[in-house]
């Protein structure tokens, strides 16, 4: 009878769940949330895997497996997949205006676009999968940060940091707000 009670109580809880609202996978807020969830969940059991370990299609099959393993909700799993996809595609590059001129995004827009604070602390806020970026220019130098943004594995082959599709101007913008 005790077993039956436990099962029924757990099932009753299902009726209190709320349904999820689907977001488009390129929604910046979904990507930022995905980066945060990636940081929070992937390192719980193992080294976080870089997005480049699988293709976008492969991630779509791997993520349901990890949703179950990591106890993620469907919405969370979708957000992580959107984040991983965003690092594997070129369509998150800067927009162009009607004359074809690149509209340079602000550092704040870049941080949101690439989900940097999912894994790193910037201005006192962010995740802890990667080291804090507050003071990183002072401690490691500008050259180090530029190299890291261009090739995250240059000094650590097991780094989970994605190789973001950043332009030189994007990198300069990022450097401008890091200290």
């Amino acid at each position: 009878m005790k077993n039956l009670t436990i099962i029924l109580l757990s099932l009753v809880g299902l009726f209190f769940v709320s349904s999820s609202n689907a977001q488009h996978a390129s929604d910046p807020s979904l990507i930022a949330e995905g980066a945060k969830l990636y940081s929070q969940n992937c390192g719980r059991c193992h080294n976080a895997r870089p997005a480049s370990d699988y293709t976008k299609r492969e991630w779509s099959v791997v993520m349901p497996h990890m949703r179950e393993k990591a106890h993620m909700t469907g919405t969370e799993s979708l957000a992580v997949e959107a984040f991983l996809n965003s690092t594997l595609t070129a369509d998150v590059r800067n927009d162009v205006d009607s004359s074809g001129k690149v509209i340079q995004r602000t550092p704040q827009e870049l941080i949101a676009q690439f989900g940097c604070q999912g894994c790193h602390v910037i201005n006192g806020e962010g995740g802890n999968l990667g080291p804090t970026l507050d003071g990183v220019i002072e401690s490691r130098g500008k050259e180090f940060v530029v190299k890291k943004l261009r090739d995250p594995k240059f000094n650590n082959a097991s780094s989970a940091m994605p190789q973001f599709p950043m332009t030189d101007a994007d990198i300069e913008a990022m450097i401008s707000i890091l200290k």
């Binding site: 976008k56 909700t73 799993s77 650590n156």
Partner: protein
């Protein structure tokens, strides 16, 4: 009465399948695939001074087949290929199950699945995830050396209902499952199996390997409830109970508390496990209980915290394991890992195991483990 839990679980699951407010990932605009082979493997060299064991090289290949039938249905199976003593290929089905994503929070799993008991068994044991080349000695499935595991069961056949709830900035995870359960072992279990005689009287052997059938009408029931403050802290309580004798009068039960702290450069994990096995005392015909318990604590530290590029790939790991009450033993394991990729590590470890009779088993491991 024993049949009611699984019947209730199945009935409730079917009822909720048609509930009106259910949706999972419908509306996804992501590029959808159908089939992936993931998995892991390892090559290990083990040097031991134990006269009952040989130094040797071992190799395993463990593919995981993942199929996405739809946004709600996912199928997975893990097979382990390894070499037998005479060079033959051994194949073991670790799990083969189907997930039905009932709604955003709930997953129903049916088939043979890894039991959500503690953390090491269901999540940490794959060699590219396990930070040491051996196991802590509390779980079955190899890697225990001369320690007699407390929980030989890793996977079984049945149904599991998994939930995840967000509570503010924390999360609540629940798993409740019904599986075929343990059985009375016909032959004596070697290698210090659960219930082995050890000066504690004649104790029936308990077998845990999932088979096609069940030796009694009773099912085992278990679960894990965990609370997490992600990304740093997760604490879980697990339980398992089932009858193993043919007449369903003798029970095996286990419970565990696991705790996990995950930092940017460091991790600390531990589990405390208690088990009880009923046995028939041949002297007075009464049912007595054989209790065993144990725990392990493991810490790891990535040297990249030092900010020296040459040390970035290195990780240090230390683990202590202890089994009490019967077939006692303790184990220290120290390891150094060199990470070639996020999922590939060269691991070197030294392990010192001391058993209750004073015997020791010292081993050196060199293992190349990879996940793919």
């Amino acid at each position: 009465m024993k049949k009611i839990p699984i019947a209730a679980a199945v009935a409730a699951a079917l009822t909720m399948t048609v509930a009106p407010n259910l949706q999972a990932e419908e509306g996804s605009s992501l590029d959808i695939g159908r089939f992936v082979i993931a998995g892991y493997g390892d090559v290990s060299y083990v040097e031991t001074d134990n006269p009952d064991a040989n130094s040797n090289v071992e190799s395993r290949f463990v593919p995981i087949f993942l199929f996405q039938l739809s946004e709600k249905i996912h199928i997975e199976s893990e097979l382990e290929f390894s070499l037998g003593a005479n060079g033959e290929t051994e194949v073991e089905m670790e799990y083969a199950d189907i997930h039905y994503f009932l709604n955003d929070n709930t997953t129903i799993t049916a088939g043979k699945f890894l039991l959500p008991f503690g953390q090491f068994g269901p999540n940490i044991h794959p060699s590219w995830i396990n930070k040491l080349p051996s196991g802590p000695g509390l779980y079955g499935h190899g890697g225990n050396g001369s320690l007699a595991p407390l929980v030989p069961v890793m996977s079984d056949t049945g149904i599991n209902i998994r939930n995840s709830f967000n509570i503010g900035s924390s999360k609540l995870f629940t798993d409740f499952y019904v599986v075929s359960g343990p059985r009375e072992e016909e032959e004596e279990v070697g290698g210090g199996g659960e219930g082995e005689e050890g000066g504690h009287g004649a104790i029936p052997e308990v077998g845990f390997e999932a088979g096609k059938g069940d030796n009694n009408s009773d099912k085992a029931f278990g679960g894990r409830v965990a609370y997490a403050f992600l990304p740093s802290i997760e604490v879980g309580y697990s339980f398992y109970n089932g009858s193993y004798s043919n007449d369903a009068t003798l029970d095996y039960s286990a419970s565990a508390i696991d705790f996990n702290w995950i930092g940017t450069y460091s991790t600390i994990r531990g589990e405390i496990i208690e088990t009880s096995t009923d046995f028939l005392d041949e002297d007075d015909g009464e049912i007595d209980v054989f209790d065993r318990g144990g725990w392990y604590l493991q810490g790891s530290w990535q040297m990249r915290q030092l900010g020296k590029d040459a040390l970035n790939p290195f990780e240090l790991v230390l683990r202590y394991s202890e089994i009490n009450d019967a077939l006692e033993g303790e184990r220290w394991t120290f390891g150094v890992n060199y990470w070639l990729e996020a999922s590939t590590a060269l691991k070197v470890a030294y392990e010192d195991t001391t058993l209750e009779d004073g015997d020791t088993d010292n081993r050196v491991f060199v293992q190349l483990a990879f996940g793919f």
